[in-house]
Amino acid sequence: MELTDQQIQRYSRQIILQDVGGKGQIKLNKAKVLLIGAGGLGSPAALYLAAAGIGTIGLVDGDVVDLSNLQRQILHSTATIGQPKVESGRKTLSAINPDIAINTYHQLVDADNILPLVSQYDIVLDGSDNFATRFLVNDACFFAKKTLISASMFRFEGQLTTIKPHEGYPCYRCLYPEPPPAGLVPNCQEAGVLGVLAGTMGILQASEAIKEILGIGETIANKLLIYDALEMKFRKVGRPKDSACPLCGPNPKIKDLSSDYTVTCTI
């Protein structure tokens, strides 16, 4: 694979970076990244991944664009209200970079469809809005041995980590063994979120994805980043592998995707 003159021009500002170069750009062009959710986190992440020339971007989302999404979901616009988010997203991404392939899946992920889906990609970004999906995505990526960049947010606070147990790092269940029971925490509508926080966290996800593809810099796979927008503080805490982890530990209880992933929408 060689870069065309147009590609060299389009990506020139990152090709001149010593850690990227022409070889790095070809890696990005060959990379396949799947975004679970084309919402608050998926929007900014997809925009930068498309602009950077990630060759294949998959968008999975079962929703349609709603007016209340536009405060933070910048893939979409007033003109695409009512359209499937994945279609709205495809238009925006193609306009930025017609050079890349965009696969859309207008559906929710579930235990039956997720493994064949993630298997077609190199890296998965979790931008889903509920715990059930987050545990499902973690477990599916574990079985498919795919690197997962996970971000989440609540009001003014965000969390970010990279999950790659296939390289010896901890999984999401090593960090949080179980989801909270429904009703214990405010639901999606009640919680609220600062729109720009979605931008910060989604872009950090895109940055970590690009680093993983290029194999540069330091991975955040053994840390959890916590961002507090009000205090303007980024903190990192340790994230060790749990020898009692029910998924990636030496005596796993979870051996396939048959567990119950049907916890209702809670944050």
Partner: protein
């Protein structure tokens, strides 16, 4: 004194404060002290049997207490404790 960092979801219990102070020699003692000053916080951190909830992590100086001594983890003056619950918004 121990500095305790309160996450956004629990701030309604601390009148919006993101950081509070507590005098405690262990994490268990810290939870009890916090609960006296901010009633209800213990229920958010521990289940009915008193065990730490499995979707809330407590870090002492950036180390997860599940990998130290759990609730019995010692605290000393100047330690910084962070309470970090799982969040799922996207």
């Amino acid at each position: 004194m121990i500095k305790v960092r309160i996450p956004t979801p629990l701030r309604p219990l601390t009148k919006g404060q993101g950081e509070v102070e507590a005098k405690a020699g262990s994490v268990l003692e810290m939870i009890e002290t916090l609960n006296q000053a901010h009633p209800g916080i213990k229920d958010r951190l521990c289940d009915e049997t008193g065990e730490l909830r499995r979707f809330v992590n407590i870090y002492v100086n950036e180390e997860d207490i599940r990998f130290l001594n759990g609730k019995e983890t010692f605290l000393k003056d100047g330690d910084e404790v962070s309470i970090v619950p799982a969040i799922a918004g996207g």
